[in-house]
Symmetry: C2
Subunit: 273 residues, 2 copies
C-alpha cells in the first residue's frame, strides 16, 4: 500500500472494492473531505490499481457521502446498481482486455396466487391503480430475501385478507422487456388453498384493492367473454386443471441447506414431478 | 403547469417522472444550469407536486447531468436503481400515507446447461476465477432482454465452444441471499443436447474457462467422491434421470404473443408437463 491510496479490499476476480463509509473513517480521519482532496486520492488510487494489474473497481457510495458520485463519473465510472441509500459505481481498468464485470440485477420477481376453495371457486381481485384494471389473481412483487412461497402468502393476505397455503408453482412467465427500461420480469403462478375453509371472508386492502371476490368457474368464463379478465388467466386455470387431473406434484419447492466453503446457506429448489 | 416547475410526465399510479435529459433541454434552454438554479427549480417543483397531491417522484439522472444526484439527495431523494449511465432517484411525497413505491430490481437470473451427448457423457467445466473452482455445468448470467433458452445456449457456446439445443428446465434454484447485499439469485438448470453429435470438440474460452471436458457418469461419481464437484450437481443429474425415464416434457418453454392494451408483447410461458 502506498500513501494517498484509498482503503480497499480485493476480491477473487482480481477486482477491488472501495466503500465510502470506510474511506471516510480511514482515509480522511473523520473530517468531511473536500472535492479537491477526494479527486487527488482517487486519481492516485486508480494509478496504483492499474500498476498492480487489478481489473475492476467497485466504489460503494453511501448517501451520506453523495458528493463522491460526480467525482467518480468524471473519472470514468458508470453505475452498476443502486438502492435506498447505496449507489455502486464501477470502472474497468485494463485497456487491453474486454470488460467482464457482471451486469446490474434487472429482474423483478412477481408472484400470483391461484387460490381455490373447496367449492372450486377462485379468488379474484381488481387493483385500484395500474395499467391493467380488469380481474386478476391477487399477487405482487417479492421483497428482497423473500421466498416465493412466503411472498405469495403475504400478497394474497394483504390484498384480500385470505390466509392461504402454498401448494406448488403451476407455471411461470418470463417477460424480457418489462416495468423499467432494460428490465425483466419473472412471474410465478402458485396454486394455493385456504388455510381455514370455514373462514374465507374477504377483507379488501383499502389502499390497493378496488374489489375482490370468490368466483365460480362459470362466472370466470362470463368475465372472459365480456373482456373483464385477460385471457392469460384462462390459460393458467387450464394448466391448473390439467395438473390436478394428473395427480402429479407439479413444480414444488424444497428447502435445502447447502455448504459452500465454510458457510451454510438455505436454498429453495423447485423440482418438477 | 406553473413557472419554474421541472418538466414532468404523470403515471397511472399518481406519480411523476422527471428526466434530466428532458429537463436540460426544456427547462434550462440547453445551457448547463448551476447548482443554485437547479435547487430552486427542484424546491418549487416539489411544492407544486405536493399541492397537486402526487404520490411519488421518479427522477432519472443521466451520467451527463450527474450533479443532480447530490442535490436530490439533499432534498430527501434516495436511490431506486442505477445501471450504466442512468441513475434513478425517488421521493415519496405524502406525509400521511405509507410509501408504496415498488422496490428496485434485485434478482439475477442465472442459467446452467446440462448438456448430455449421445454417449451419455455430460459437459463439465471449471472456472478460472470465482468462489467455486470445482467442476460444474457451464453457464452464467442472462443479459437484459435475453430469454432463458438463449442465455444458456450463449453461455455454453462461450465457455466450451459447444453448440447445444435447449430442451427444457430440469429444476430451478432460488437463493434469497446472493451475490450482492439484499440481492437474490434464480438459477435455471436446462437440459440440452449437442446440435451436431458428430462435432462435439471442446474449445475453451481463454478468458473464463480453466478446463472443460465430456465426463461419463462413472467419472462424475468419482469426482463427487473425491470432492471435486459439489453435491448440488449430483442432485440435478438425478432429477434429469428421473425426468427422462418418465418420458414427460418436464418444464418447457412456449412463446406467446399477448395483447395488453394497444401493444403486443412476447412472453415466455414455462409449462410443467
Amino acid at each position: 500500500m502506498t500513501d494517498n491510496v484509498l482503503s480497499f479490499t480485493k476480491d477473487v476476480f482480481d477486482g477491488v472494492t472501495v466503500k465510502s463509509t470506510v474511506s471516510f473513517e480511514k482515509d480522511f480521519e473523520n473530517t468531511v473531505p473536500n472535492t479537491e482532496l477526494a479527486t487527488k486520492w482517487l486519481e492516485t488510487s486508480i494509478e496504483f490499481w492499474k500498476n498492480q494489474h487489478y481489473n475492476g473497481v467497485w466504489f460503494e457510495v453511501d448517501l451520506k457521502h453523495i458528493y463522491w458520485v460526480p467525482i467518480l463519473a468524471q473519472h470514468g465510472f458508470t453505475f452498476h446498481r443502486a438502492r435506498d441509500e447505496l449507489c455502486v459505481m464501477i470502472r474497468w481498468l485494463p485497456e487491453d482486455k474486454p470488460n467482464t464485470l457482471p451486469l446490474y440485477p434487472f429482474t423483478s420477481v412477481g408472484v400470483g396466487g391461484v387460490v381455490v376453495n373447496k367449492k372450486g371457486e377462485v379468488l379474484l381481485m381488481r387493483e385500484k391503480r395500474g395499467s391493467y384494471l380488469g380481474w386478476k389473481f391477487p399477487g405482487g412483487l417479492a421483497d428482497p430475501g423473500e421466498r416465493i412461497s412466503e411472498a405469495v402468502k403475504r400478497e394474497v393476505l394483504e390484498e384480500t385478507g385470505i390466509k392461504a397455503e402454498f401448494k406448488n408453482v403451476i407455471t411461470f412467465r418470463h417477460i424480457t422487456q418489462s416495468l423499467y427500461e432494460k428490465s425483466c420480469d419473472l412471474y410465478f403462478l402458485c396454486y394455493m388453498t385456504p388455510v381455514n375453509e370455514d373462514d374465507i371472508t374477504i377483507v379488501k386492502c383499502e389502499r390497493e384493492t378496488a374489489d375482490a371476490k370468490w368466483v365460480s368457474r362459470e362466472d370466470i368464463l362470463k368475465l372472459s367473454e365480456s373482456g373483464e379478465i385477460h385471457h392469460f388467466h384462462m390459460i393458467i386455470l387450464d394448466r391448473l386443471d390439467k395438473l390436478l387431473q394428473s395427480g402429479r406434484n407439479g413444480c414444488y419447492q424444497e428447502q435445502f441447506s447447502f455448504k459452500a466453503g465454510s458457510s451454510t446457506r438455505q436454498w429453495d429448489m423447485y423440482f418438477v414431478d
